[in-house]
């Protein structure tokens, strides 16, 4: 099953990478610019000193990025060259890629403010093809993102195996992750989303392992591993902070009834130490050595830009009052709003997905609840604690991202900082809840058939998304 998942993820990833024209996924130039600055200077880009940063293509980007950007907007929809697989710009890009001047950038693009882990790792594929065309380097980084996606798929499979005893359902949960359209796009793009999704999936797996093993106490090493991985997730993208509630709940579960035991506190200490060391070291380093900044600098917002922590009491009312269109936009952009958010899977398809997924999940949850409250003692095929933890993680992820928007609107006066794809860091938890819920609708003997139905549905959705993308970019 593992081999099948690896084959599915890699072949699908290569197809998605192939069909997207270069720079046609939101913010790819900004993320690439950040990688380029780090790879060329081995430093974090200098902080912005007041000038406005262009959101799409800044004036100080490298000449090769400018040229490839112009070319990708020229060969588009109905304006491709006829009877050739190669355009003149490819020769020029290959030629100038070898000269350091054409790779020089000032690093002043929107990704400047992000933590640096993904970008630092991406300097490896970038460096491997340093003197090749920018096309090769950008696609090499896309392949790195694909590997982060594979990491998330495998972590989902192992986490699902902890939640239920059906390998077929665990496979279906992992396939749901692999084939989800927005996940497929983000893990085929030059984007730190891919890194955050992959590392958060590992954190989630580690949390699930500890929850599934309760009441056995986790070791100090378990704590350190969980802390370090959480720290790495935070160093990849701020969504990593959304893993902290899960860490807190795991700690509380471990502590329950055993708060006097020394090894329990060792676990919590090792975990907290792991997170704090990774998150605190880069800012302290950059304070000690102000310029130039090391490339692993965590570029959190400056103090004056952060407002006070907003009232939690106002949050539920704020969510309730959100415009229907905005909520629909969040759902759509978490399923299939591609490119620079300029085209989407057909609206009616999305509606059907939403309705079907909601209905099936509700049905599954009802079935699970019935099994729990039924007086007849019977052995459950899924484990209560890991499944409940997955459900908790999924919904905490949604609340965390919505809270980020609430905070930005109320205290920073910025609207629209989040998109549906920001929820993807908790996709593994969602997939497990959906797959286990659907599996609970039927007796054991039909469970593999349910897994087949889930995988077929997910595949159909993925193919539909591919057809939409090919039609958008290459039709006309």
């Amino acid at each position: 099953m593992l081999a099948a998942l690896v084959a599915l993820s890699l072949t699908k990833g290569l197809v998605w990478i192939s069909v997207f024209p270069i720079w046609k996924i939101a913010d790819e130039p900004a993320h690439f610019d950040n990688i380029q600055y780090r790879a060329e200077h081995m430093l974090h880009a200098p902080p912005n000193v007041g000038g406005a940063i262009d959101k799409v293509m800044g004036p100080g980007v490298s000449p090769e990025l400018k040229l490839s950007w112009k070319a990708t907007n020229k060969y588009y929809q109905g304006s491709f060259l006829a009877n050739t697989r190669r355009v003149p710009e490819e020769e020029r890009l290959a030629a100038i890629g070898a000269t350091p001047d054409s790779r020089r950038t000032d690093g002043q693009m929107p990704a400047l403010g992000y933590p640096g882990l993904y970008y630092n790792i991406a300097t490896i594929p970038y460096g491997a093809f340093r003197r090749s065309s920018i096309l090769t380097r950008a696609f090499a980084v896309r392949c790195l993102s694909m590997l982060f996606g594979l990491m998330a798929v495998l972590a989902t499979f192992f986490a699902a195996e902890l939640a239920c005893e059906s390998r077929a359902i665990a496979f279906a949960a992992a396939a749901l992750v692999a084939l989800q359209p927005m996940f497929s796009q983000q893990t085929a793009a030059v984007n730190n989303d891919a890194g955050a999704i992959g590392i958060c999936a590992i954190v989630f797996l580690l949390q699930m392992r500890i929850v599934a093993a309760l009441p056995r106490s986790p070791s100090k090493l378990d704590g350190l591993l969980l802390g370090v991985c959480t720290g790495l997730a935070i160093l990849c993208k701020p969504q990593g902070l959304g893993m902290l509630p899960g860490d807190a709940v795991v700690s509380a579960l471990v502590l329950r009834g055993r708060w006097r035991e020394r090894e329990v506190w060792s676990f919590i200490g090792a975990m907290a130490g792991g997170v704090l060391t990774l998150v605190a070291v880069p800012p302290v380093w950059s304070r000690l050595f102000p310029a130039p900044q090391p490339i692993l600098h965590v570029a959190l917002a400056k103090k004056r830009e952060l407002g006070p922590f907003p009232s939690l009491l106002g949050f539920p009312g704020w969510v309730d009052g959100l415009a229907f269109d905005y909520k629909q936009y969040l759902v759509r952009s978490s399923w299939g709003q591609f490119g620079w958010l300029d085209f989407a899977l057909g609206g009616s398809w999305i509606d059907r997905v939403e309705r079907l997924a909601s209905l099936c999940t509700l049905g599954g949850i009802a079935a699970i609840t019935l099994r729990v409250v039924t007086p007849k003692k019977q052995r459950l095929w899924w484990s209560v604690a890991p499944t409940a933890f997955a459900a908790f993680s999924a919904y905490t992820g949604v609340i965390f991202i919505l809270f980020a928007e609430y905070y930005a609107r109320v205290h920073l006066k910025i609207v629209g900082v989040i998109q549906g794809r920001n929820f993807l860091f908790m996709l593994p938890a969602f997939a497990i809840v959906v797959a286990v819920s659907l599996g609970s609708l039927v007796p054991k003997r039909f469970r593999v058939l349910v897994a087949a139905a889930i995988v077929t549905g997910a595949l159909a959705l993925n193919v539909a998304a591919l057809a939409t993308i090919v039609s958008h970019f290459y039709g006309g």
Partner: protein, 98 residues
């Protein structure tokens, strides 16, 4: 008696969920292949060229075509294997059936 009724109800619900899922998957696949067929019919000669432009050699056709074929093959094998295993288990339930 109650157990038998519960068993039948869960089988019926399960089959209904499965049929709905397969129906929706079938409809999506139909739309997707219809879209693709229309595109291929309209741009048969140019689609491979268009997808290949401004990409490194490893992501141009014919290699891109190889990836698409492999993805299709892997998908078909996975679905077929799951359906085969699923039908086998459904028709010959293990003795420790819940």
């Amino acid at each position: 008696m109650v157990d038998e009724r519960l068993r039948r109800a869960s089988v019926q619900w399960g089959l209904l969920a499965l049929l709905v899922q397969l129906y929706v998957a079938g409809r999506w696949s139909f739309f997707a292949f219809q879209d693709l067929a229309t595109m291929i019919h309209k741009y048969a000669a140019t689609l491979e060229d268009r997808i290949s432009q401004l990409k490194p050699e490893a992501f141009k056709f014919p290699l891109a075509g190889v990836y698409i074929s492999l993805f299709a093959l892997v998908s078909i094998v996975i679905v077929a294997a799951l359906l085969y295993a699923g039908l086998r288990t459904a028709l010959n339930p293990p003795p420790n059936e819940e």
